[in-house]
């Protein structure tokens, strides 16, 4: 089965071709025009998708060495995201699927992230249910993945997302945006024991997160530390990053205990963090719990993960009709 995936939920116009679940080629055209505005402007994003979507699909087919006539199904993100941006991808995918007479399946953008770890051809897929720690600028979730389209939310952040904690920390330290890579770089030569930041929720018997207190602790430290006693920026960044990663590891271990599941994947932008990956690897070895995370390029938005999630849904006999809606506030939680 050859699946063409399409993703236009935010500011990346993306397409991918998968054959029997294996990635052949993908394209991400990132919109740089928003930089001038200091944030993503929804109407601008929608208009840029419209200019780029055909190019993204053509490039991907060329790179995959695939003809349009070889496509056997389409998978498209139908939410969550920006309404106008989603509309371009969904309407385009409907027209294309109708012209090719192939099935169309709608994919939740977050569901795409859940499957992103399995885009790595060197990693064996899990059999049976597994846990997914989904950490990005907008989400910090722990999911139980039962099967394609069947997900239970076990825990979530009660305030800021983990990626927000990175972004806000980086802003307080004047390190630039996006905060994740900037803070990681600043922390590289720092001593993570120099400043003792809190670990909100650590040790509690549930799977929820909280990061706002951590951010506030950094704010107060920078405001109150006496100039001669203040740690270097590298030490502060390292200590702050270690606190975020400790929280993620603590909550993940709590989820393993409470769910009894012993297969874990980690996804979303924060899964690119190298300290988190080191900690996951050593924990995985120690506890004999297999852990998967996506290749770096699939931590951020892409269509390969949408095509893969769509492939799993199609394998389970699911597809959408021409009525597929656009759902900007789509949530995976609570669906059977």
């Amino acid at each position: 089965m050859t699946v063409l995936g399409i993703e236009t939920s935010c500011d990346d116009t993306a397409a991918a071709v998968l054959v029997d679940g294996h990635l052949q080629a993908h394209t991400v055209i990132t919109q740089l025009d928003h930089d001038a505005y200091g944030g993503i402007v929804p109407e601008v994003a929608a208009r840029l998708h419209e200019r780029k979507i055909v190019t993204a699909v053509r490039q991907t087919l060329d790179r995959a060495g695939c003809e349009l006539s070889g496509i056997s199904a389409l998978a498209v993100t139908y939410g969550p995201g920006l309404a106008g941006a989603l509309a371009v991808g969904v309407a385009f995918a409907k027209g294309l699927s109708q012209a090719l007479s192939v099935p169309l399946v709608g994919v939740d953008h977050m569901e795409g992230h859940l499957w992103a770890s399995f885009l790595d051809p060197l990693q064996a897929p899990f059999s049976g249910p597994f846990l997914c720690l989904l950490v990005s600028g907008g989400h910090t979730h722990i999911w139980r993945v039962n099967a394609a389209g069947d997900y239970d939310l076990l825990g979530r952040s009660r305030d800021d997302a983990a990626g927000e904690a990175f972004d806000k920390g980086a802003r307080l330290l004047d390190l630039g945006y996006p905060g994740g890579p900037a803070l990681q770089a600043a922390a590289a030569d720092g001593n993570d024991q120099k400043v003792r930041f809190p670990r909100p929720m650590a040790g509690t018997e549930h799977c929820d997160f909280s990061f706002s207190g951590l951010k506030t602790a950094l704010l107060y430290y920078l405001r109150d530390a006496a100039p001669d006693a203040r740690a270097t920026d590298a030490d502060i960044a390292a200590s702050y990053q270690a606190a975020i990663v400790d929280c993620l590891m603590d909550r993940l271990q709590s989820a393993v205990r409470l769910s009894g599941l012993r297969q874990v994947c980690v996804a979303g932008g924060v899964s690119a963090n190298l300290l988190l990956r080191q900690r996951l690897d050593s924990w995985s070895g120690r506890e004999q719990i297999p852990v998967r995370y996506p290749p770096q390029e699939f931590c951020t938005d892409n269509a390969a993960m949408i095509a893969l999630a769509g492939y799993h849904r199609l394998q389970a006999g699911q597809s959408a009709g021409m009525e597929l809606p656009i759902v900007p506030n789509l949530s995976l939680a609570g669906r059977g």
């Binding site: 109407e43 419209e50 055909v54 699909v57 349009l68 385009f92 409907k94 027209g95 021409m322």
Partner: protein
Amino acid sequence: MKLLALETAYDICGAAVLVDGAVVAVREERAPRRQNELLGLQVAAALQEAGLDVRDLDAVAVSSGPGSYMGLRIGMSYAKGLALGGDLAVIPAPTLAVLAHGQPAELQWVAAWSHRDLFYAARRNAGGLEPVQSVSGAELDALAGRDGLLAYLPEDRKALLSVPLSDTCPSAEKVGIFVLAKGLAPVADMAALVPDYFQNFQVRSSHHDDS
């Protein structure tokens, strides 16, 4: 020539199939904010009634605005997907010119309601339309004067205008008829095609430099 015509620029959502200049199937309804859910179904039903497959078509014509941003991008994006998969030419049809086509020449202005008290409007001339403007109801009254106005607007907005109105309404059928009557050519590269949003989207800064 087998043509599929699409209309989604305002609250009318529709698809029409034209074969050798004759309208052979139409599916259309007033469907504010439901174009995404409806358009594909309408196209499938119209093609079935016409006994045609997407790949039997030569071209897809699409109402290209100005109009509702969401409606325009659904119609245009859908047309692009259909054209890519079916190897079809894409022909954009300016929405106000479609509304004015075939209407009495003494009605010199054509307009469609945009939002609040704003209208997209254009003066008609022998060659078609002069450039589209965005004007308020009061400005449109002054422009159109006593001659009256060809207009598409909801009943509850008619109080915005005092000029005599002659109703017109967007439709996929009219898009197809207009494109054939004018002999409009397909765009060379549909990848770069965008609707006529009328205005570049400008982000207004909330900070003003008064110095």
